[in-house]
Symmetry: C2
Subunit: 367 residues, 2 copies
């Protein structure tokens, strides 16, 4: 280390060669920087910075000169370069991880998040997960390397403990749809067990006792909750669940359709079906139509189905409110960014039963 007190030689300070030539303002092929704008406007870069950022104490004449130069060069400030030095270090960027952006539920969440973000000049990275734990960690790492201000995550891996250091550093992380494991942080979820119970009660009230559960993989937390809600409601109603068909591991239309067909190939087909997910519901509908049983087998699905009201019968569902989930998640992230230090908050968004016909069909035997 070489610290010297220089009082004497004012001479050779400032030896920095600096790029001799003024930045060429006319070159249209290279991206203009503040220095180009400053050179064209005949002011210092810091003054340009002040004008671009609307800082006070710049004369009207200077503001106009700078703006004219910026317009002429089609100058756009480099947000990331600024962030490097800026006090708050915010990139005005959010990372959103969903099952798949090509999926109505995720689309609605995304849209709500985007609306909240756009109001604040924040851009949103969206990434799809496809239920692949490896993708989850890669996507999160990709977000973090880009220094997003906050994360809104649908997760699928066993544990999110890997996020603990990031959380300690103050990055807000909000989990949507599914709750985190191995970590405590804000979450916004549907009331899965309650919604499933609601659907089940609805079917019980219409006289069904032989109910079937068709659901997603048990590894998914929401699927487990829905299954629990289904079974517990039956328990409360005093219906023996031992012999009722509980099929899990369905994750698309094809597998759900096959499972339904198999159910009706057995000797005791159900009089009512609770399907725990969007795509499963659609698979069930297809199977029931093929079997010609869609008018005598009751069906309530979890999560709404597009055009469910135009089908015959209309599809009764327990609807989630993805828009609301997205809105609340964004609200949570921004509250944290604004300094909210409260303990992790779990926000539960209630579900809504939408009656359309398929859930009100009476049991076949009683007809």
């Amino acid at each position: 280390m070489c610290i010297v007190k220089s009082n004497e030689h004012i001479g050779d300070r400032n030896v920095t060669p600096l790029s001799e030539s003024e930045p060429a303002a006319g070159d249209t092929r290279s991206r203009p920087t503040m220095r180009h704008v400053a050179a064209l406007a005949g002011v210092g870069v810091k003054t340009v910075s002040r004008v671009i950022n609307g800082e006070p104490n710049v004369s009207a004449a200077t503001i106009e000169k700078v703006n004219a130069a910026a317009r002429k060069l089609d100058y756009q400030p480099d947000l990331h370069a600024g962030n490097l030095r800026r006090a708050d270090g915010r990139t005005r960027t959010l990372g959103l991880l969903v099952g798949s952006v090509d999926n109505p539920f995720a689309g609605a969440v995304h849209r709500a998040v985007e609306d909240a973000a756009a109001d604040r000049g924040v851009a949103v990275f969206a990434s799809s997960l496809d239920d692949d734990p490896a993708r989850e960690q890669e996507a999160v790492a990709a977000f973090l390397r880009r220094r997003v201000d906050g994360l809104i995550l649908t997760t699928v891996s066993e544990s999110q403990a890997y996020l603990a250091p990031e959380l300690r550093r103050g990055t807000p992380v909000v989990f949507v749809d599914r709750e985190p494991a191995g970590l405590t942080s804000d979450s916004v979820v549907s009331d899965n067990a309650d919604g499933a119970a609601l659907a089940t009660r609805h079917l019980l009230e219409h006289g069904h006792r032989r109910l079937a559960y068709l659901g997603d993989r048990a590894g998914i937390q929401t699927a487990r909750e829905r299954r629990r809600g289904f079974l517990e409601e039956l328990g409360r109603a005093g219906v023996a669940t031992r012999d009722l068909p509980v099929v899990e591991g369905l994750h698309d239309e094809a597998t759900a359709r096959e499972a339904t067909l198999a159910l009706f190939a057995g000797d005791q087909p159900p009089t009512a079906i609770f399907s725990s997910q969007n795509l499963v519901t659609i698979g069930v509908i297809r199977a029931l139509r093929e079997l010609g049983r869609h008018h005598d087998t009751a069906l309530v699905g979890f999560d709404d189905v597009p055009l469910g009201d135009l089908l015959d019968p209309g599809i009764t569902v327990v609807a989630q409110h993805p828009q609301e989930i997205g809105r609340l998640a964004a609200e949570r992230v921004f509250a944290r960014l604004d300094g909210d230090e409260a303990p992790a908050l779990r926000t539960v968004v209630p579900t809504t039963l939408i009656v359309r016909g398929s859930g009100e069909l009476p049991p076949k035997a009683e007809r």
Copy 2:
């Protein structure tokens, strides 16, 4: 170390105090930088940089030391800081602008783009437009301030000439769904006129002569193309178009429903309808059902309708292929980034007629 080039005054150059203390490695609340990792590993920052980026000429022992330190600190490199200096200046980021991320067409495009991007370690910003020209420019500016490597845009404003300087700087811009105006650049679009003609021909072949066109606002380029395809096909068939109802300006279910009801309140209701868009198709379906005319009025929609095959009648549509559009758009962007200097390319993705019932209903009078 104090290396000075000037031979005379070793004195007062290089007074940089430099942070005296080694960066505190233990502080878990601040984000670690390369200097932290370097200090912990006992090497220089440039060596850390080499290890992180997999550059050659680092000894195995050093690599291990650095990786251990990085792991211990949960270090994530700052991609944007690196880009500032990096030779290629790539942020490994793409900007995608669509009508609304909460919309099946956009979702499919988005997903295809994301898949292509993820393969290359590129993250995608997605933003919604809502047919608002002001939003278009704001969103593009937000992308550019973040220095995206390329843009994939659905546009709505009169002219995209404002992008010319950016294009000159070499930023790849690919337009999807709608072609640009006032600017020449790559585009990937459906064959709108051809698809509309296909739908129209289909209805003509089933004996209809009194066709109605229900479409989106004429300000939207694709809507104009579809209208043109409809009218031209009628012209080719020698059907007088003068008295046929051509309704425009519809952009959601409600307006489409009302327009349909109005059509049937007139004295010469159509025997067949061509609806030029997703939401319009659904509005028409609702109106026809209310009127009880869904089994005697033929309908072909442009763009697929979710669960269209499960409705009664099934909805015949001219389907677009958004996934393919997204895939090709991403391919174009990456080709440009990889140095493709060919003139702007217009890629047309053909449409497909999907026959499901509603388009094959014969004219009522002939029944």
